[in-house]
């Protein structure tokens, strides 16, 4: 249970949040037509006769869209309905050529599922929490109206018309803005792992309708909810919830009642405002689409969908902490984004192969490199560096040298910097730039002998119990070696000689 509370004059309030996330299905073609779905084309360049609802045109389901929705359902461990059906949602609008949206009201493709959001003390999520997902259905997107192209007329762009969406409907299981934010991030991560949605919120590939209600702490009845439409970033979803919950508390504490209504979020002010109340709500006259047969999925299709699922975020995180021995923090950071774990796993494999050790023995080194060292260098270098030079092979070569003690951590960074700037090979850089540390015990012993001879007083103090002076000897040695001595070797020899 989250501890998110709103303090009112009459007592403490808690909030209840449910989200309907619309996720654009990754597919080359639309849900019922072969028109392209690519983002950014000229207006009306990607419109088939079906999308434009020409007379006599008929929808034919695109199996790839169905497949992606089924795979998504499997990724949230949901029931897949082998029999589902499309319904028509009827309403008039200029961006809806058919005069109805083909959706699934009565028999959705995907039934009850769930996902887990992770504990995050700082965000007020004390422990892992399971958020129920009621259903996922597939439906058509609408087109876009443009009101700024002509002084008195509105223009219509039908490129988006008919693009496949998954509507992912959560249970009202979230009780704070942070939980809602974590839910969307987790859902986005799963969609991107599965590859069923690119999760690009700026391009509108994911947007959420946010249902919020409030109640006094301890009440069991749900309050009247409002629905804030089309919120298109995690931050905005959290803002919308925060604002809407506070607004509802204010209304209720002033003796008012909450009207069940549809609201709009204004990103400029972070507030919501009424769009239409329940009384003006459309009667969508849903009925089964007679142009389409029920969707019946066979076992072979489901089996193929299941077999094609990648390792999912929770499983991957468990493997990282378990098999690879990574810290919780590293595991969470590495598994959050598809690109991050993909880069990590490639580098890990290359490094382990290069060093000739099992992955788990080098995983922490690679994780630290991937999460902090490499990003640090890349960031510091800014535009001077070319990220395309940073191939997995080159980074693995650096880590290999470091693991073998040939270069120090500092040298690894320096070499990586040169790689980014020039695209040269790390081994060659280390040789020609003198970026190698000395592990030759003879040279180190010689330097240490000189230092001991020149600092007899300090040696005596150290032997007398002043352990802190060990660092002094290390520093002197490294200085004498111009920073190129292998610290492990230095430590060992110093310990031996100082006794």
């Amino acid at each position: 249970m989250s501890n998110y509370r709103i303090q009112g004059a009459t007592g403490e309030w808690e909030i209840v949040v449910g989200l309907e996330v619309h996720a654009q299905v990754t597919s080359k073609a639309k849900l019922f037509s072969s028109a392209s779905t690519e983002f950014g084309a000229e207006p009306n360049a990607q419109v088939s006769l079906i999308d434009a609802a020409m007379p006599g045109m008929l929808p034919v389901p695109n199996v790839e869209c169905i497949r992606q929705a089924v795979r998504t359902g499997m990724a949230i461990e949901a029931e897949i309905n082998k029999w589902s059906r499309f319904d028509r949602k009827n309403y008039f609008y200029a961006d809806l050529p058919q005069g109805y949206q083909i959706s699934q009201l009565y028999h959705p493709l995907v039934g009850e599922g769930a996902l887990t959001i992770e504990a995050d003390e700082k965000a007020g999520i004390p422990e892992d929490k399971v958020i129920g997902i009621e259903r996922i259905h597939v439906e058509q997107d609408a087109g876009k109206l443009m009101h700024d192209q002509h002084p008195t007329m509105s223009y219509v762009d039908l490129n988006r018309t008919g693009v496949a969406l998954m509507e992912i409907v959560s249970r009202p299981h979230m009780t704070s803005p942070a939980e809602a934010g974590a839910y969307i991030r987790k859902l986005r991560s799963i969609l991107r792992y599965v590859g069923s949605c690119d999760g690009n919120m700026e391009e509108g590939s994911m947007r959420a309708d946010v249902n919020v209600s409030v109640r006094k702490v301890g009440d069991t009845e749900l309050g009247t909810r409002t629905e804030t439409k089309n919120v298109n970033s995690v931050r905005f979803v959290m803002q919308a919830i925060e604002h809407e919950a506070q607004r509802q508390v204010d209304v209720l504490e002033d003796g008012g009642t909450i009207v069940q209504e549809t609201r709009l979020f204004d990103p400029g002010t972070g507030t919501t405002r009424s769009m239409r109340s329940k009384e003006d709500a459309h009667d969508y006259r849903y009925f089964p689409d007679p142009d389409l047969l029920p969707l019946e999925l066979d076992d072979a299709f489901l089996e193929e969908c299941r077999a094609s699922l990648p390792e999912l975020p929770d499983a991957k995180r468990a493997r990282y902490t378990g098999d690879l021995g990574l810290s919780e923090y590293n595991a969470r950071e590495l598994t959050a984004e598809v690109e991050t774990f993909a880069r990590f796993e490639t580098l890990l494999a290359a490094t382990a192969a290069g060093i000739g050790k099992p992955e788990k023995d080098v995983a922490t080194q690679v994780a630290n490199w991937s999460l902090s060292v490499a990003p640090g260098v890349i960031k510091a270098l800014g535009e001077e560096g070319d990220i395309t030079h940073a191939t997995a092979e080159r980074q693995a070569a650096i880590l290999d040298m470091q693991a073998k003690g040939e270069i120090s951590g500092g040298q690894a960074k320096e070499i990586f910097e040169i790689v980014l700037k020039t695209g040269r090979e790390p081994g060659e850089i280390a040789d020609s730039e003198g970026l190698k540390q000395v592990s030759d015990t003879g040279a180190i012993e010689e330097a240490i002998d000189t230092i001991i001879a020149n600092n007899e007083d300090k040696v005596a103090e150290y032997r007398g119990g002043k352990d802190k002076l060990f660092g002094f000897f290390v520093g002197q040695t490294m200085k004498a070696m111009q920073g190129k001595a292998n610290p492990a070797v230095v430590n060992q020899i110093l310990k031996d000689k100082l006794g």
């Binding site: 006769l49 434009a52 609802a53 020409m54 007379p55 006599g56 045109m57 008929l58 929808p59 034919v60 389901p61 028509r88 009827n90 008039f92 609008y93 200029a94 050529p97 058919q98 005069g99 109805y100 008195t152 509105s154 219509v156 009667d283 006259r285 849903y286 009925f287 689409d289 007679p290 142009d291 389409l292 047969l293």
Partner: protein, 494 residues
Amino acid sequence: MSDLTQLGVKAIRDGVTGGEFSAVEVAEAFNTAVAAASELNAFITATPDHALAAAEKADADRAAGKDLGPLAGVPIGMKDLFATRGVQTSAASHILEGFKPEYESTVSQKLWDAGAGMLGKLNLDQFAMGSSNESSYFGEVANPWKASDGSNAKLTPGGSSGGSSAAVAARLCPAATGTDTGGSIRQPAALTGTTGIKPTYGRCSRWGIVAFASSLDQAGPMARSVEDCAIMLEAMAGFDAKDSTSLQMDVPAWSAELSGDLSGKKVGIPKEYRMDGTDAEILKAWDDGIAWLKDAGAEVVDISLPHTKYALPAYYIVAPAEASSNLARYDGVRYGLRDIEDGAGLQDMYATTRAHGFGDEVKRRILIGTYVLSAGFYDAYYTQAMKVRTLVQRDFENAWAECDVVLAPTTPTAAFALGEKLDDPLALYLSDIFTVPASLAGLPAMSVPAGLNSKGLPLGLQLIGKAFDEQGVLNAGLAIEQRAEFTAQPERWW
């Protein structure tokens, strides 16, 4: 040479293929007949050049020794509900007046591929909604038949495929396409002494046919013989990946397999079709039909289709419900009529465009359909109607345990006068009472002429078959055709 317009599909095809006459001669003869028949108002658009071009190709192919298609040199009429590339496709409405599609319907394309040419686009009830062809924006169609009682009243050719039935009966074309949602092929065929078959739902692709009620709409041929219907249907039918409800089945060789010998077949006579108010002469024709089928070797059995009386009300819920949604696309935004005053908004544009673009009957059905799908009424109407539909289907399934084909009248009366039922839509809806059950069940059904009544007007008999058994329907139709000896023709007055 005899009048080529008297020839049917097979006779023309064989004549052209055998070189008895040229396809161009045939096309010219029919083009002339069409041009001279404007009083019937059977055509909305004449396309003589299309017919001639197809004929020239057939003649050229024959001269070059190429194989000719099964409809080579046959000019036909196309109901103006089928999209035809570059030719106005109006659905007999104002809202689609002037609409010239950039695409060709699957069925019409298949007909052209088989060698047929198009004489023109045939009139119909607006958006195929009607049973008398009086709801067309382009004016009513007159039945070429007139009563022999001297009244001289213009009669309805039936509907919605009234242009098709009138044109085939008047020898303006040897065959025409029709569409049947609740009887729109069979009822007009019966009222004009022509033959028409609605195949099993899904046999003919609906792609490119202006939709009325998607779960019921089915294209089919209208001609002057069972065999011609079979030949036409073979060309029209077939799986189409562009129509999700299309049947994935091969098209049988119906015309080659035609046989009027019904030995071993059982014909069911449904007692519920013996309704009050049915014309005595219709009942007499039904009895004739029973005798003919017995003569053809069939055993006749009484059967019961107990939910028949609920079929019509259910149909008039389901069909308008689907229509109210299917016709939402005619909104003035992208094509067709746009009626809007300067400065008016989107809602005004919808309201004005649709108020001016749709006729009364279309509006009536949109309103009925919108009502029955509304929150609070949906279960009482739509859900209930769908249950009835299932029961009607089950009636037929039970009947197939006892018989192979059902014989019934096509219509409760012969052709009535234009205008007679104009003010009484419910009376008009009753014209479909015998045809609607097969539509709800998606079954193949046809109407064949049984004879003339005492006023000299044609009467039709209906054969309903099992799903996919068009052959059984056609064979029983042939058995009647062979015995009814229907050779009468309307006397030319136009």
